[in-house]
């Protein structure tokens, strides 16, 4: 009986450490903030954090980017094995130069990515994210972009293993990244 309990506990622990591969994601090609074509497949061997947003976002995007900066500080040397991709859903305003400038406010190994609207829509669809451009004729903003706030964590093989909601803490994201890095590809 004791052996059965021990085996069950061991199996449970093993299941907790093995993260499922989520049915979203996949490779894509966009333009990075240095105006170079970027392929997700070029990051094989690294854990990748992906978020969708736009640089005129005053709250959710800077808050999440600050949070990911804290995650990378907590990771220490392991941060070298992590890349953040900030995919703009506002290609009209977010040129590569604007994206680069925006990311300079954060201590984060991140690439800002943009593209044509069809290119961006394809990636948004692949990851099950969403966004909507909402006109604001009475505001100086002219329009706002409602967008998903989920952060996707990809393993070194490029598969989505975890999705973090906006409320996820630095600790939770850090633990997830460590788990993905420990599991390898």
């Amino acid at each position: 009986m004791r052996w059965i309990l021990w085996f069950a506990a061991l199996a449970s622990l093993s299941c907790q450490q093995r993260l499922p591969v989520l049915p979203v994601g996949g490779d894509f090609t966009l333009t990075d903030h240095n105006n170079q074509r970027f392929e997700l497949s070029s990051l094989r061997g690294k854990a990748v954090l992906i978020l969708f947003g736009y640089t005129s976002c005053p709250d959710a995007c800077p808050t999440t980017l600050s949070k990911l900066s804290s995650v990378c500080r907590r990771l220490g040397n392991d941060a070298k094995r992590v890349k953040t991709l900030y995919i703009s859903v506002d290609p009209e305003r977010d040129t590569p130069a604007v994206l680069k400038d925006d990311l300079e406010n954060f201590q984060l190994d991140a690439l800002g990515l943009t593209g044509t609207k069809p290119e961006i829509d394809k990636v948004v669809g692949q990851y099950g994210a969403e966004y909507k451009i909402i006109p604001l004729p009475s505001s100086a903003a002219k329009y706002t972009v409602a967008h998903s706030t989920t952060v996707y964590l990809l393993d070194p093989a490029g598969r989505v293993r975890l999705e973090f909601p906006y409320e996820a803490t630095v600790e939770e994201i850090t633990r997830g990244v460590q788990k993905v890095l420990a599991a390898g590809a």
Partner: protein, 150 residues
């Protein structure tokens, strides 16, 4: 000086003395009913001329108050905005007022309400101070000094 004239003189002198004393007395100024604390402005990226302003508004009065407009010399326009989450999606919309409960407070922070400054007239640096004025529904105003930080 006749009796009547003397009484008039004394009466006038008393009134004058009373007015002089009242005007020279150190009457404490009325406490501000709404005050802003911990105001800060997010450092905008170099290529942006817009940013968000946050603070805590405290209402020390027994009446609910509303901020109905914001003005500043630092930007062309200041607007009150609200961020809300709809499932996993963030939606930002302008709002026409921000309520502050009686004897309570309202936080303007990156998770909900904020003031957007559009068309900054100069690029601020970390540590700079930006002045804005809030107008309340009772016609009074609240001066706010916000520090720029990352």
């Amino acid at each position: 000086m006749k009796g009547t004239e003397r009484r008039t003189f004394v009466w006038r002198a008393t009134i004058a003395l009373g007015i002089a004393m009242a005007s020279s007395m150190d009457i404490p100024a009325e406490e501000p009913r709404v005050i802003a604390r911990d105001a800060w402005v997010r450092l905008p990226p170099r290529l942006k001329t817009e940013t968000a302003l946050y603070m805590v508004l405290e209402n020390h009065s027994g009446q609910k108050r509303k901020v109905v407009s914001v003005s500043t010399d630092a930007a062309q326009t200041a607007e009150m905005h609200e961020m809300r989450m709809e499932r996993t999606t963030m939606v930002m919309t302008p709002v026409s007022e921000i309520s502050i409960p009686a004897k309570g407070k309202t936080s303007l922070n990156p998770d909900r309400l904020h003031i957007m400054l559009f068309g900054l007239k100069s690029r601020p640096a970390v540590g700079d101070m930006i002045q804005v004025t809030l107008k309340l529904d009772d016609g009074s105003t609240v001066p706010v000094t916000a520090i720029v930080r990352k």
